[in-house]
Subunit: 95 residues, 7 copies
């Protein structure tokens, strides 16, 4: 079953800290508010201005990203816990 985020929203799969390889981004458990790593699952068609101009997003499905711990809305799709957030909640792309 698919899910298409609307406008400038993206669907993100959280990457748990214990899945990360050596040398990667490590966010210690003691720092609960630090950014978290995730993978883009799907992206919207783009931000839409007041005048109707659509600007495609700068991230794409498969991108590894960092995002603020409290960003977005949690949702369960096909039994998997995912997060819907706006592109502006993404801090940057890893790798």
């Amino acid at each position: 079953m698919g899910f298409r985020p609307l406008h400038d929203r993206v669907l993100v799969r959280r990457i748990e800290a214990d899945e990360k390889t050596t040398g990667g981004i490590i966010i210690p458990d003691t720092a609960k508010e630090k950014p978290q790593e995730g993978e883009i699952v799907a992206v919207g068609t783009g931000a839409r201005s007041d005048e109707g101009k659509v600007t495609p997003l700068d991230v794409k499905a498969g991108d590894k990203i960092l995002f603020g711990k409290w960003s977005g809305t949690e949702v369960k799709i096909d039994g998997e816990d995912l997060i819907i957030m706006k592109e502006s909640d993404i801090l940057g792309i890893v790798g």
Copy 2:
């Protein structure tokens, strides 16, 4: 009796959790603030900018959507409980 939402508003029929098929989006009862699923019943003519430019909506009648639990205004039309919300309250399209 019809109802035409104004501008960038949409009319939504809530899809209750127990109506959903296996493999679909399941929102457990324990997560009351999680997004909810709905179906678009009618859409406005589009968002209108300060300069009067109308941008048609990206959703249409029949679309299955996810929306925030607290979005919109509840209304009863022809005996049915529906919700009027803005397109920007829609998180994405299912299916």
Copy 3:
């Protein structure tokens, strides 16, 4: 005696619940904050942008509308209780 709403304002006559026909929109007394039904009595010339561009309203005198219970300002004109509100307070058009 006439009254011309300014800019993007409209003059609305509230339609009480007990006046509505079967099959229409019924707002139960128990839901005090639910939208209310009304009829447009007069409309302003349109929304005016910062640059002075006037955009005519999408509603006209005679339209049946739904609006939020707390929208607008109550006024008595020629002995009748009416409401002055902005077009953006209107949820949609009935019928």
Copy 4:
């Protein structure tokens, strides 16, 4: 002695309830927050956008208006109590 309101401001003379003729707008004493009636005494040259474009006002000296009870700033000019308000505080034109 004259007074020229600046930009999108207008100078208003309040019309007391007891001066109004039968069939006019009557605002009962019990409704202290209801709109009040007034007459435009003078108007500014118009609203000025960030880019310097001036848009003349839609009201003119002599217009009878309704305005919110708490709008504007009271001032005494040549011994008369008047109110300086912005055009956007005006609800509409009477008559």
Copy 5:
């Protein structure tokens, strides 16, 4: 010693109530929050939009103005108490 207000600011000399002639604007002591009268001493080059466009002010040195009692910032220049305020704090021009 000169002082040039920046952008859309003006330098104002307050006109005390007891200096005003008969028939002028009189603000009783009992109304402490009422507008005050002043004279423009100097004006900035104009409001500057985000895009860099400069719009000259609508007031000039010598203009008698009304302004809100709490507008602007008090400053002492060459031993004289003056007020620096934005043009948008000015209610209108007297005379």
Copy 6:
């Protein structure tokens, strides 16, 4: 060691009250919130609009200015206490 303020920021050296000459701007100690005098040490390249247009500042190094007592951020550069503020925090130019 140099310091280049970014965008519409300026670097300011505070001029203490006891350094000022007779007839200049005097801010009494009893008025702690009154504006202060300073000298521009360096300026940024200009304000940058959302669309990327750069508007050079209206002040330059060497200008004597008045600024609000609580404006900007204090910093010590090469052992000297200076202030970084935005041009919009400057009230006007002295002299």
Copy 7:
């Protein structure tokens, strides 16, 4: 492992006070809220306007900057503590 900040964000390595040379910027321990010095590690592609226009940043990797103590979000990349902030959080460029 690389990290590309999104849009108008930059990745910054904090320069601790004890690493600074004589004559440089010294922020005493007693002033905890004063700006801090850092070095740009990576920059985003630029600020993106509502209409989709990208404006490249005015800072580049290697620039020494001053930034507010509480700016940005701390993150650990490849075992190193870094900060992700927006270009608008940067006060200026040192050197």
